[in-house]
Symmetry: none
Subunit: 239 residues, 4 copies
Amino acid sequence: MKTIPPGAPEPDIPAEMPRSSARARGTMPARRNAAATRQRILDVAMSEFAEHGYSGSRIDRISAAADVNVGMIYHYYGNKDDLYLAALEASYKVIRDREQTLDVAHEDPVSAMRQLIALTFDFLSTDPCFVRLIMSENLMMGRVVRRSRIIPGMTQPLLDALRTILKRGQAEGLFHKDIDAENFYISILGLCFIHVSNRHTLGSMFQRNFADVEWLRQRKEVVTDILLSYLAVSATRVP
Amino acid sequence: MKTIPPGAPEPDIPAEMPRSSARARGTMPARRNAAATRQRILDVAMSEFAEHGYSGSRIDRISAAADVNVGMIYHYYGNKDDLYLAALEASYKVIRDREQTLDVAHEDPVSAMRQLIALTFDFLSTDPCFVRLIMSENLMMGRVVRRSRIIPGMTQPLLDALRTILKRGQAEGLFHKDIDAENFYISILGLCFIHVSNRHTLGSMFQRNFADVEWLRQRKEVVTDILLSYLAVSATRVP
Amino acid sequence: MKTIPPGAPEPDIPAEMPRSSARARGTMPARRNAAATRQRILDVAMSEFAEHGYSGSRIDRISAAADVNVGMIYHYYGNKDDLYLAALEASYKVIRDREQTLDVAHEDPVSAMRQLIALTFDFLSTDPCFVRLIMSENLMMGRVVRRSRIIPGMTQPLLDALRTILKRGQAEGLFHKDIDAENFYISILGLCFIHVSNRHTLGSMFQRNFADVEWLRQRKEVVTDILLSYLAVSATRVP
Amino acid sequence: MKTIPPGAPEPDIPAEMPRSSARARGTMPARRNAAATRQRILDVAMSEFAEHGYSGSRIDRISAAADVNVGMIYHYYGNKDDLYLAALEASYKVIRDREQTLDVAHEDPVSAMRQLIALTFDFLSTDPCFVRLIMSENLMMGRVVRRSRIIPGMTQPLLDALRTILKRGQAEGLFHKDIDAENFYISILGLCFIHVSNRHTLGSMFQRNFADVEWLRQRKEVVTDILLSYLAVSATRVP
DNA sequence: GATGAATGAGCTTTCATTCAT
DNA sequence: TATGAATGAAAGCTCATTCAT
């Protein structure tokens, strides 16, 4: 819990003098890299909130895992709610950023769509943290996300990318015309989300481990099939 | 979820005299009816847990809303965990029972499938209580549902019904052969669940009200289209 | 817990119709032998208070074990305190009665003393209930026993018996003269009480089981030796 | 038990300004001294547990008397059980330490034995706290003491001291040979313990105050006589 | 005499938050 | 910037006791 992550540089602390123990002995003034401390708190908070939900998360646990004093959390983030919002926004940023790595303008539309689906599926399945954070927030009726000023803005690039793929597919006669991008994204999300969000209740219902790698591989194929079937021009329309 | 189940008659309580306020004023002797009290607690608990999740729910609030002493809850249900399990099981029972009202053996397979999808969609969308209960349980890593002895058993009839529809559709050459019933149910669930479970975060992302009736109507059509496209023999298989 | 003790006759209940189950089915009016019910409650209370002490004892447990309604306990005994007093008095009566079975007037004084010591030792060691009841009461600073009107009176016969033995021993030149009966009884009690009252802490200190039968046998000899050494005329008096 | 141990200096708190009342009035900033607070809690806990037993003791009362917030108790001691264990161990330490002040190796054996008996008698009689703590623990069937890692270890020095006295006495021909040290200690304890542990029930039986100083003085002599009579070579052995 | 549903006060414990240093 | 001792409100749960029937 108290080990310093290797990736967190603390340049102004001499390596030969381990911080925490020296501090414990009171031989060193409390002075560190503020930005790093802030970030460390945020990283830990993201895990904590993801693992335990909002109500289940403990400020004490976060401060211990981030190796900072409780007061620091309040100093940097004000209160539990705001820390939670920060964690939520940071989590959204990760997936939104990743989505922007796709080359939607030049890649073959079907392939681009497959990549978007795969990226979404893998992101949600690989680490349930994001999914759990989203669930927790929705259980709170969006009380916190509602206050976010940046999350709505992060959605536009995603929608743009999706529309670009759809338009190019339609122009090439591969996708049928009557598709709403927003609604389609929700379908992608629904199909990629459910076995992660409901892992445990589904597990209880079907007595199966939905984190099993082989099962996930098959499920990703099915999800892709379902969504591409729907997009295909040849798809049977509902009469 | 807040309606008193039709099977629980309380004939000797005059409808025009609401118990709680009258009792609070001390003008009416306490009605002693164990079964009714038990049920009232369960009904209230289902709402409370659905609204606030497990950690966020308060025994005090439940006892107040059920108009009983806190001790009664412990007398009837043991502890918060067991009350929560009872609420969860009761909720599952409602949807599983409703699924069994479908006539999957005689109805035209496509129509039967549409009905199953519609039933699932409507059940989840009409009252978010069930969805929220499920989410809460999954956030707790299935800690409670794992102890349920009846939930696993409730799944079999659903799978049987789904398999019957699929087989009959395949026999009539309407559905293609390569469909796993369990996986397909998860797809149904995913597509019907997401806009309820993620209502608030999606609302924040897209600045739209996902409880809007007109939107739900359209969404139900899309979901049905997606799932039937996938089932259809003409569907483009992934090469 | 619910089995009826064999010694408790319930003449007016036909044997072929087990009481509790019939009552559960509501087929039998609630009507029993009042005195037997009262006694059953007391018997159970003695065990309960002995096992858990006053604070640790539960009215609910007593009513369940006595197979009566909670209200009956209040009906017959008023409240927890008074039930506890009744249990305490009944317990004292058992040992005081037993002490009176000794033939102190005709038996050889040394032998009579040995018998009194053995009786006390065995009574306390065989069933720790009495000891624990006494301990519990003393932990409560005698709050309840102080209200007893019969316990002080029960002591006199014991003291009389002890004095008789001592006088006869002194008259025969077996015991030395300077012995206070009351003080001597306290010595008997202390030596016979400690390994029962302090069974667990002594067990922790010495890592030994002080309920072991062989150890008890030896201990009884030592206790007798100690007390008889002190009584003996030849005993070295402190200069 | 209520005195502040000499080793815990609180130099910067002016003696003429009692902390609790001043702080209650809000005129003095809270003294932040973890060790002192911890000790204060323990001191109060020892009294509280001694006075009311485990079940009867109240965390609220302890926190009030120690002039700290309830949470502090849990912060320092975890829970009621662990606080009780700490109090128990601290109490044992006091008597075990005191026993080690005897010079068993050089003092005349009879005199050393007298001193050990007197020390034990006085320790138990002067302040009933220790006795009551022991009783409470035994009423709980040793549930807490069983977890102690230090109490068993504290017994050895006592046994060693006792064996030293006995051996030297036997070597000098003062004590007879057949004496088990452990059993003999239990006899000492039993004779010194009973009038304290059973003060109230004995008081009720004999209508006498067993905390009376003069009675205690006589009793101490009797106890010493009894034990020395038994040790003496001239003691009449049981045939 | 007997029932059992119901009560309310009080318990131990937890936790976000503050504040003097 | 950083510390950690301290707080107060509220949580889950228990239990002696009452009361209509």
